[in-house]
């Protein structure tokens, strides 16, 4: 079977990254028992990664929501079924947040709501209103990477990179929660993020390095 190529680096344009994800989704759909996905109809219909025709039924049930994402205020008209993950990816073009399982079992979709890590695949977009949403795109300050992003690069905390945005969002929270006292504590508090490539040892190193840096121990 043909495996997907490495994801293009961040500076590449969104369309090729989307192409990568589309291919990955097509491959994983063949591997797992893919249940019908809850892609709901949206006002501006965008291509559906999962190949399911966009639902247009219940158009009268559309609701207007306001999301505060990475400091921007976004106004969207959505079906109440739309998850925060699909709103970010399909409506706001924030493709950094990944869809792995869409069932709460992998952590690829981890984002922060008011600074707390949550799974965007099990969060309804309508219920994220009024909260400060931070995605991987909102972590860096201008051109300067967040210390956790820098540490993942330095420690080789990934192989294919698919789980990485979720790992990094989780790691930022893990550090701010104070759960980096030992390797086993880091592993326990990072257990909600699975890595198919098994980059775990380097992920633990990256979390340790970033935690030390953020405490001001290392420059």
């Amino acid at each position: 079977m043909q495996l997907p190529a490495d994801p293009p680096p961040d500076h590449e344009d969104g369309s090729s990254r989307r192409e990568f994800i589309r291919r990955l989704a097509a491959i994983s759909a063949g591997l797992t028992v893919a249940a019908p996905l809850g892609r709901a109809g949206t006002v501006t219909e965008k291509s559906n990664l999962q190949g399911e025709p966009p639902k247009t039924d219940g158009a009268e049930g559309l609701i207007e929501i306001i999301l505060k994402v990475n400091g921007n205020t976004e106004r969207l008209v959505v079906d109440p079924r739309v998850t925060l993950l699909d709103a970010l990816r399909d409506r706001l073009d924030l493709m950094g947040t990944k869809k792995g399982c869409d069932r709460g079992t992998c952590g690829a979709c981890t984002v922060h709501l008011d600074g707390r890590r949550v799974l965007s695949c099990l969060t309804l977009a309508v219920m994220a209103q009024g909260k400060k949403i931070t995605t991987i795109e909102g972590l860096a300050t201008g051109d300067e990477l967040h210390p956790v992003q820098a540490a993942f690069i330095k420690c080789d905390g990934f192989q294919c990179g698919y789980c990485t945005p979720g790992q990094i969002m989780s790691a930022v929270a893990c550090i701010s929660e104070g759960h980096t006292g030992s390797d086993s504590e880091i592993r326990e508090y990072m257990s909600g993020n699975l890595c198919r490539c098994g980059a775990y040892p380097n992920i633990v190193e990256a979390v340790k390095m970033a935690a030390a840096k953020m405490k001001g121990e290392v420059n």
């Binding site: 249940a35 079906d79 069932r103 949550v118 099990l122 309804l124 326990e188 909600g192």
Partner: protein
């Protein structure tokens, strides 16, 4: 996912009068969004509970009160919970992942649905999902299933870790519908499957769990939750034990014991508690008491290992609490 309308009422009175018999509440969404995607749950209306006041964690002379909307993560590390009932903190911290614990509510946790693969797959029969359609787990894949409280209709386990700790501590749930309130012990709240596995508890349509009450038990400071699973973290239990032990010198004065991963509901074990009470604090006492846990066990093809495993889980928790290790 089937279409639904969404509402976010701000009072319990409004919320418990949703106007549609098949409407569903949503708190953290970690069970219901998953099951709506699978079309195991198809509510035409979803009522968001998060604007309701059912919050707060307080210790009083009567014991502990936890508002149903409190998050698993916040409850686990609450100083009163951690200090007075370590078994609750540990059961929560060994549940799911940090992300899910940040989302999931205590009330929702108690109402989470079984992880039985047949229940979750709408292409297979399941008496819990479609009454009368049959139970493929009984003759099928049943390694994760129950050995206690099963019936010819259903062998699915109840998956909540928190509920195991709470039934051991003889906790109650406060329920409210409109202006009428009632208090039920959690043990009575959960129902055995018998011929009606789709009725998992005593909650009426539109009724809310508003809070959890845990009686005061000063010696529950000596309590623990031991969870045995296929991987060390982010996994449901094969077996688990919630145990509290009151020790006086080398005698056991009192105990609380419940087990998870083995029952069709969180499984309280008053008979084990009795077998421990007043006995010497020895391994022999523990082994004899743990045997009573599986007196009525009915193993299936793939889960007979749980008969030994659950006894050992209880014994190991007792060894730890009794300081025999």
């Amino acid at each position: 996912m089937r279409p639904f309308t969404y509402e976010s009422p701000s009072s319990v009175l409004e919320a418990t009068n949703p106007g549609h018999p098949d409407s569903a509440f949503i708190a953290g969404g970690t069970t219901i969004v998953d099951l709506m995607k699978l079309e195991v749950m198809k509510p035409p209306k979803v009522v968001d509970l998060n604007a309701l006041p059912m919050r707060g964690i307080e210790m009083s002379p009567d014991g502990l009160r936890i508002g149903a909307l409190e998050k698993m993560s916040d409850t686990a590390v609450h100083p009163e919970v951690a200090a007075n009932y370590p078994v609750i903190s540990e059961a929560l911290l060994k549940s799911a992942s940090a992300q899910i614990r940040n989302m999931a509510s205590i009330g929702g946790n108690l109402l989470q649905r079984t992880r039985c693969g047949y229940f979750r797959d709408v292409n297979t029969p399941c008496n819990k999902r479609e009454p009368g359609s049959g139970c493929p787990a009984i003759g099928g894949e049943n390694r994760m299933h129950a050995i206690l409280g099963t019936s010819s209709s259903c062998v699915a386990t109840h998956a909540s870790d928190l509920a195991v700790a709470l039934v051991a501590l003889e906790a109650s749930v406060r329920l409210q519908s409109g202006a009428s309130e009632r208090l039920l012990t959690l043990d009575d709240f959960y129902l055995l499957p018998d011929g009606t596995p789709h009725q998992e508890n005593q909650l009426l349509p539109g009724e809310l769990i508003t809070e959890i009450r845990v009686p005061r038990l000063p010696w529950a400071t000596r309590s623990t939750y031991l969870k045995i699973r296929d991987r060390e973290s982010y996994e449901f239990s094969l077996t688990s034990a919630a145990v509290a032990l009151d020790v006086n010198g080398d005698q056991i004065r009192d105990a609380r014991v419940a087990v998870g991963g083995v029952g069709t509901k969180p499984w309280n074990l008053p008979e084990v508690r009795e077998a421990l009470t007043g006995k010497p604090l020895t391994l022999e006492t523990f082994v004899a008491a743990a045997k009573l846990a599986v007196a009525g066990a009915v193993p299936l093809k793939h889960n007979a290992f749980k008969i030994d495993l659950v006894q050992r889980t209880i014994i190991r928790a007792l060894i730890k609490l009794g300081g025999l290790a």
